[in-house]
């Protein structure tokens, strides 16, 4: 059963205040604890390894699947393989997320390997939130890997959010887009203290008229370090845009490597990358409205990461 701490973690990673409506699977400290399926969405435990298969029937509309993971003990090393079959012409939202509460002195780690097959004409919104807390010395580590194959005409929207509390993360996202498939990735990352985060997003635009947009915004504070790799590879007539922006503060380090690669004469690819501190004019503007310097800074950062 879920206790108060579990519920707090669920709220942080999945905006869940109660047990969700629709399909869900809650995993705690390496084990499934609660599950619900619907007429259109099935969740099956994998037999060969740890993880689940989520199967969304074709033409399923407007349903959601919550698959939060919570880790509330130290010395946990949880590796999970989840596979998602998003049926033709369905339209669903999947909310994943991992919350780690580590009060102990040993590392807690969760590595989620998620593979999505988004079938013809289907629409998927996938939200992944990371959150960590706890005053122990044990590190909170999350290494998610997301692989997506989007078939013809599929629309995929990804929101990858890690705002606080994760000491180490190495995120890898690989996406293949077929004809007319459309992808929008929104990444938001905030690191502080001595945290390190690495994110690599690789998109292959394989089909004609496929399109991809990656919008990454991050804030690096204190002594934290962020490393980004973005690669858009256009292998057909396609459009792609990478826009990555980082606000750097204190003694933080941000390394950003956007790459666009065209293998077709009608591939149109653009990248924009910027790293900079908060502009003093922005602070002055908000202070001239009556905000303190700290309030102005928080307002700017909150807006930036929204």
């Amino acid at each position: 059963m879920l206790n108060a701490l579990d519920k707090l973690m669920l709220e942080k990673v999945a905006d869940l205040h109660e047990i969700p409506q629709g399909a869900f699977n809650i995993r705690k400290n390496g084990h499934g604890v609660q599950r619900n399926t619907t007429a259109n969405i099935d969740i099956i435990t994998k037999q060969d390894k740890s993880g689940i298969d989520v199967i969304v029937k074709p033409y399923t509309k407007g349903e959601s699947v919550h698959i939060p993971v919570i880790v509330t003990e130290d010395n946990i090393n949880d590796v999970v393989y989840n596979t998602f079959e998003i049926g033709e012409y369905s339209d669903v939202e999947i909310i994943a997320g991992c919350g780690i509460h580590n009060c102990g002195d040993h590392k807690s780690q969760h590595d989620g390997i998620h593979t999505f097959y988004v079938r013809k004409g289907a629409k998927l919104k996938y939200v992944e939130k990371h959150y960590g807390q706890g005053d122990g010395k044990g590190q909170r580590v999350l290494n998610p890997k997301t692989v997506i194959e989007a078939e013809a005409g599929a629309i995929v929207e990804l929101e990858l959010i890690q705002i606080k509390g994760i000491d180490r993360t190495n995120r890898e996202t690989d996406i293949k887009l077929m004809g007319n498939a459309k992808l929008v990735v929104t990444e938001r990352l905030l690191t502080y203290l001595d945290q390190e985060a690495e994110s690599s997003i690789n998109v292959e635009l394989l089909g004609a008229d496929s399109s991809a947009q990656i919008i990454s915004r991050s804030v690096a504070q204190d002594n934290s370090k962020q490393v980004f790799y973005f690669d858009l590879a256009g292998k057909n007539k396609c459009r792609g845009h990478i826009q990555c922006d980082a606000i750097i503060m204190h003694n933080a380090v941000v390394l950003s490597t956007p790459r666009i690669s065209a293998y077709h004469s009608e591939a149109q690819l653009v990248h924009e990358a910027a790293i900079g501190r908060i502009e003093s004019e922005q602070l002055i503007k908000l202070m001239s409205l009556g905000f303190s310097e700290k309030e102005a800074e928080d307002t700017i950062l909150n807006g930036f990461l929204k």
Binding site: R217, D245, E279, E281, Q282, I284, K285, L286, M287, S288, L289, G290, F291, S292, E293, T299, I300, N302, G303, F304, L305, K306
Partner: protein
């Protein structure tokens, strides 16, 4: 009353050394002042000294008798000083309505944000949910900037070249709006401008050049002087950069 007493400033800015030389000015309650003069004459520096963006090298600034010379921008804002930037900053992820709500948050009176946008010639429906980022044009940014100052209940409002990017229709509207806030809140309005039509709103006009005040008088006296100056070869009767909607570089 805002009382500037013998203020001097020497600061390395983006455009070289910015200088004010022993400026003394009294801005009385409820009046509209227009500060004009050639670029680089110290007008924007004066505005920034009033808002607290720059601290004077010497001299004093008093607001209703209170010495505010060394108060921060935030403290001055809370005492009722407002400033519309010449080149307003943009904010990624902050919507027009968010910025206007922030601006209105210290105003005890209920402010209708849609009316604010209308007052600067923007359709609320089209703009409230737009981000205040590079998707907005320079003119749109200027209008929103003005709206953030109109949202506040101010003792002193400083507008740094508000006319840039504003079309003719909105210009008329803007002029009325300046008059209205002047009457509604008894705000002292200081407008830095090269525009003759803005100058026509003024009770008093101040001409600044080389960091000093070269003339200060009632509107009609100064305007008559400016319009009759014939020191350039162009057929338009104006002083350089003054009185016409023309940019000048010197």
């Amino acid at each position: 009353m805002l009382d500037i007493q013998g203020v001097s400033l020497e600061i390395e800015g983006d455009r070289g050394t910015e200088i004010l030389k022993n400026i003394s000015l009294k801005f009385y309650d409820k009046k509209i002042y227009v500060v004009t003069g050639p670029n680089g004459g110290g007008k924007s520096s004066l505005a920034k000294i009033i808002m607290g963006v720059y601290n004077p090298t010497s001299g004093k600034i008093l607001l209703e008798g209170q010495d505010i010379t060394y108060l921060s921008i935030t403290e001055r804002a809370r005492l009722g000083i407002g400033y519309a930037f010449q080149s307003p900053p943009r904010f990624k992820g902050i919507k027009v309505k968010d910025l206007l709500k922030m601006a209105a948050s210290y105003n005890p009176e209920k402010v209708n944000i849609c009316d604010l946008l209308y007052n600067v010639g923007l359709c609320a429906q089209d703009y409230l949910d737009r981000d205040v980022d590079s998707s907005l044009s320079g003119g749109e940014m200027k209008r929103i900037e003005i709206a953030t100052v109109l949202a506040r209940n101010l003792k002193v409002a400083v507008f740094d070249e508000p006319e840039a990017g504003i079309d003719l229709w909105s210009f008329q509207k803007l002029a009325e709006t300046f008059k209205n806030i002047n009457q509604q809140y008894d705000t002292t309005i200081i407008i830095i401008s090269h525009q003759e039509r803005i100058m026509e709103l003024a009770d008093e006009i101040i001409i600044m050049s080389n960091g000093t005040i070269s003339a200060q008088s009632e509107r009609d006296i100064i305007l008559a002087g400016i319009l009759n100056t014939d020191d350039c070869l162009c057929s338009t009767k104006c002083a350089k950069g003054v009185g016409q909607n023309a940019e000048c570089i010197g």
